[in-house]
Subunit: 423 residues, 2 copies
């Protein structure tokens, strides 16, 4: 194993090679890029994928030995149906329009100059992730279709699986006449390698950390390159005094229970004191019926005998589970104050029939998606019409919310003239 200065210079060498390879991608046709993705999909369905399943079996065995939880092992596991899912996701990316070269905000200036903004690749994107190995393929495919090279650092537990998946991608690139360095997996998951990668100012154009709070903080604090964080979602549903009872129940249940383990699930329910007596008991009953454990403040406990007592820490907890904090607040001002303090800039929903309160919520809440009378679960690239996404950014600069193909690009100005000069 390489270490220390050697490791750092190896990471830099790999990054420079990937960056160099990215330069030619800006001018490549959509057809040629899609051919690579189709080839990866085909490989995942063919005998080639045996190497992935073998590597995954080894990762799983090592994981079991080291005592990974059942949930972690499940996240790590790849089988034929899951590989089919990865292949289908690739085909969905093939169907998405190519963002590179798209021209937006085009117009003619008084001088006759035609100006607009053209989407262009960012260059080299570093993706740091801890989650399922399918991210290796998904993220690489999105970066590639948007004309970028990528440098991947996956989770320690999935290292062999990730290596096998990256090898399949590299082969498809080479077979289609591209430089395989366009998708580069770091040779080690050592912290030192991550540090080297996020320090390569001028080489790595963007780093996207996805995963636990500790990882994201580590990257944000040590990076010398731009970082777009995909941070935890402590998402709220606020039930306003004027809320429609059926909408409130449906939205709370959907936001909490449709898929509790994801970042856009509700973690805290806020209820206006003016309607708490009427609306909280039926909402709580609907949640409890679906197996949700409620943790409430003192006033909630009085109305919902089945709830446990919440501690101050519950307001900042991302349960990712069938657990929900509940708090009674003083009207929309109380809700706005709670969200400003405990929200994580992710997704915040209000249930209301008040025009004024809906408008205030939309204007005043700072989050990547602010919703009125809709579930927090809508904050998703596919649902919002972006297609596949690398995740949901809680960084306000560049991309706030789901990051699809367009968000993996920059917008440069272009001007077409017939000799225009400035007077």
């Amino acid at each position: 194993m390489i270490e220390g200065a050697d490791l750092r210079s190896e990471v830099e060498r790999l990054a420079r090679k990937a960056k160099e390879a990215s330069r030619a991608l800006a001018a490549v046709s959509t057809e040629r890029k899609d051919a690579v993705l189709a080839r990866v999909a085909a490989a995942l369905r063919s005998a080639e994928s045996a190497a992935v399943l073998d590597a995954n079996a080894a990762d799983l065995a090592a994981g079991e030995e080291s005592g990974l939880s059942a949930a972690m092992l499940d996240r790590l596991r790849l089988d034929r149906p899951r590989l089919e899912g990865v292949a289908s996701a690739l085909e969905a990316i093939v169907r998405l329009p190519d963002p590179v070269g798209q021209i937006v905000e085009s117009r003619r200036l008084p001088s006759g100059l035609s100006v607009g903004r053209m989407r262009v690749p960012l260059g080299l994107i570093g993706i740091i992730y801890e989650s399922r190995p399918n991210v290796t393929v998904d993220a690489a495919a999105l970066c590639f279709k948007a004309g970028n090279a990528c440098l991947l650092r996956g989770g320690k537990e999935a290292f062999s699986t990730n290596r096998a998946l990256a090898a399949i991608f590299a082969r498809a690139l080479a077979d289609e006449g591209f430089d395989p360095a366009l998708v580069t997996l770091l040779p080690t998951v050592e912290r030192e390698a991550t540090l080297a990668m996020i320090g390569l100012s001028g080489v790595v154009d963007l780093v996207i950390p996805r995963g636990g709070e500790g990882l994201i903080r580590f990257v944000a604090e040590n990076a010398r390159v731009p970082v777009i964080q995909h941070y935890k979602g402590v998402c709220h549903v606020y039930v306003d005094a004027s809320a429609d009872r059926e909408k409130a129940i449906a939205i709370a249940v959907n936001a909490k229970t449709q898929r509790p383990g994801v970042c856009n699930a509700m973690e805290t329910l806020l209820v206006d004191e003016a309607c708490a007596e009427a609306l909280l008991p039926p909402i709580a009953a609907a949640l409890i019926e679906r197996g949700v454990e409620l943790r409430g403040d003192a006033r909630t406990l009085a109305l919902v005998p089945g709830a446990k007592e919440a501690t101050e820490a519950d307001w900042d907890e991302e349960y990712l589970d069938l657990v929900c904090a509940v708090r009674i607040v003083r009207g929309i001002d109380g809700a706005l104050a709670h969200v400003a303090r405990h929200g994580t800039l992710h997704t915040e929903a209000i249930v209301t029939e008040s025009y004024a309160n809906a408008e205030r919520w939309l204007r005043e809440v700072d989050a990547s998606l602010v919703a009125v009378n809709a579930s927090t679960r809508w904050n998703d690239g596919g649902e919002l019409g972006l297609g596949a996404e690398v995740g949901i950014s809680t960084t306000k600069l560049h991309a706030y919310g789901p990051m699809g193909l367009a968000e993996l690009c920059a917008l440069k100005w272009i001007a077409r003239g017939e000799g225009q000069i400035r007077g």
Copy 2:
């Protein structure tokens, strides 16, 4: 004077106060914001501005004593006509539409949910500048109209002038019922204070350094907050074999001489070897006639006897003066390679009548503005229809090119529903 840990905690205190004050700004009407800007403009035209002129006289005297160049002293100087210019610039900002609350890309999803993206303030923006003191007012006004608080660190030589200008802004804010902390000038220009400011992750939302290379590198290397660089412009005009002679002369002359001291002026002229004999002599003659010193490669010297010999360093030089590097290249590939190596992602123009080469230039050149048959001087927020700008970003993320009001905002997603849940 405060120093060390005390200085750092004082900067943090000021920043937190400014950030806190910014929270209320998102919901403030355009009318109320414009009233502040109008009040600052009126103050600059009234007796109040005597304090600014006095402070400026002190700065100028100190500058002369410390041996500032005549050009530096001129940049530092404020007089009645220049204050009138600052006041007029404020009025132009008043006339610009308010970016906050603008909704773009609005559409209805299949579920009936209406989604769109709403422009919202970023929060607290740090501006670090070395240039003319009018930036104090211009930058503060743009940040404020876009709903942001700002933390300003101006040039050492202009410290007293900047303090007097910031005091006028603070008074106008207070008189209109706003927290004067919304425009906060750092109490010292010490490097320690700048370091403290760019380290305030989670408090300062964005730092924009404007000025010399050294300053920008220092900020980029030490920041813990997002940075959008406004870097030097080594801008090129490439005269293609198919170029129209008159357009080539007019564009080269305009790009170099219309205002040589700015970042979007041409610094290097590239000429295709296929047309060099025919086009370079008349272009060179037109430039020399306007007092431009030419520094050419060996083949240029053979065609332009008046030129001096260029060194390797000339290809990376931002002269900001009536000096121009000239190089003969092998067709568009030679020009693209030169620009990829020596360009600074700022502004790059081609003069051509070839459709294919125009398209290649637009697609393949990486710069904040890529132009065909137009002067590099068009890369300007006012000219491109953005109104006033805080500068021209050469950072590809978030804002590439002129940063106007919209670029000082983030785009959050909003969703308006009637109870939509995900199935």
